[in-house]
Symmetry: C2
Subunit: 236 residues, 2 copies
DNA sequence: GTACATGATGTTGTGCACAACATAAGAAGA
DNA sequence: TCTTCTTATGTTGTGCACAACATCATGTAC
């Protein structure tokens, strides 16, 4: 199964905390990568069986995911992956844009060779994205790059907030893209744009200019949202 | 007990969601108002007994509060109210300052008479804060005013983020204030400053200038943090 | 045929007993 | 006296049976 790619980084720790983290990351990845698309109904017992535990620890994870706005449990009905309507999506993007810029302004890290190397590495892997590539691979790289970008600030709470908003919106972005006619054309275009973004930011980091990198990111987030919004309005 | 003041707004709903909300708000208020100071160890069974339920629904609430950074459960030890060290506090304030300004910029509400009246009302109640007033009353008004201020934006996710950061830091601010020698002098000064802040913001709202109100708020948050930081450094 | 009542089915929520774990006190040995 | 192992105690974590709830199908009265 493809989702093992997303879950292989899970900690091997077998304590209570380790199990919790493993299940949590697995479910969050599946939601983010659309293995569990918005509206999907999950059954606690199925998950419990899959992870080899009872419903109790699974419920713990579900409560946390619900607190983060990715799930919603309804008594007697089920646990449903949340969807986001157009207005709320716009609101979250408004904030994401601002937070992206703040990552370059609040407690930016001092750039060292190791960090530069990480950006070079992911840039190289992004270059391999060709037209017609797997959407899933794109989503995965996007997520990986996001985490690398947030590591540009030492402000841990800011990283947390950004991460939370990212997991709320990136999946909706992807879901919307897949609904569009000729979505492959749109996606190919997004692939190229993403490659330019990664390249620009990587170079800014190499010059030690974290603020510039953040501003590039800000602009790309805003433009990416504007593009898909327009495409959706034109031919949904 | 004084905390009933904070909990009387709880919904009377007796369904599962209603119980959950009631327990959640009660515990969050207690943490925010220092009834449960940082480091305090809670026992699930005590809480269960107090609210007339078993440990199970209580644990649900605790998991959510843990996800929000207010609690931390440790297997075999207990559930502990989190503390925040100086560095993280500074980081959260950095963000709060920026978010306060954003509340005036992203999807501001159009001011109507009802909203103005609410600001007039809380302003009048703040004027009654005299020197030597109850710290608890101050904390409560502060919280109430915070919620009113966040209602200046229609951006719901932004409100949520602001709320989360507020509950994380305001209690630490208060705890720090109480540790300072001659804290009554500091607090009296803060009372007056807070009254000015409320008055300034209320007037900005009356003029329909939400952006100005938000900027005043931004400045006050930053200055408030700077003052207590200096006071703590000088005579802790 | 339609509206409504009633039961069957499936899901999450709750209560409770016990396991896993951490901590501190105490005993045994050097 | 100090160290170390053991044990007692208290806490959160887990598993399981059942209650509460929502939904859909079925049947019945009109």
């Amino acid at each position: 199964m493809a989702q093992t790619v997303a879950e292989e980084q899970a900690p091997a720790d077998d304590s209570a905390r380790g199990r919790f983290a493993r299940i949590y990351q697995a479910l969050r990845s599946r939601i983010c990568l659309l293995d569990y698309p918005p509206g999907k109904r999950l059954r606690e017992e199925d998950l419990a069986e899959e992870f080899g535990v009872s419903r109790t620890p699974v419920r713990r994870v579900l409560v946390k995911l619900e607190a983060e706005g990715l799930l919603r449990s309804v008594h007697g009905v089920g646990t449903i992956v949340t969807d986001i309507d157009a207005e709320e999506l716009a609101q979250v993007y408004e904030i994401r844009v601002e937070l992206a810029e703040l990552i370059g302004k609040l407690s930016p890290v001092e750039v060292n060779e190791e960090l530069i190397e990480k950006f070079r590495d992911i840039r190289a892997r992004c270059e391999q994205l060709t037209e017609g590539s797997d959407v899933r691979q794109f989503a995965w790289l996007n997520m990986e790059f996001f985490h690398l970008f947030t590591s540009l600030t030492r402000n841990e709470p800011l990283r947390e907030l950004s991460e939370r908003l990212y997991y709320q919106t990136s999946r909706i972005w992807m879901k919307t893209a897949l609904q569009i006619r000729d979505y492959q054309e749109l996606l190919d275009n997004e692939f190229r744009t993403f490659q330019r973004e990664v390249a620009d930011i990587a170079e800014a980091v190499e010059h030690g200019d974290v603020a510039a990198a953040a501003y590039v990111r800000r602009v790309h987030i805003a433009l990416s949202y504007a593009r898909i919004r327009r495409a959706f309005a034109e031919n949904s």
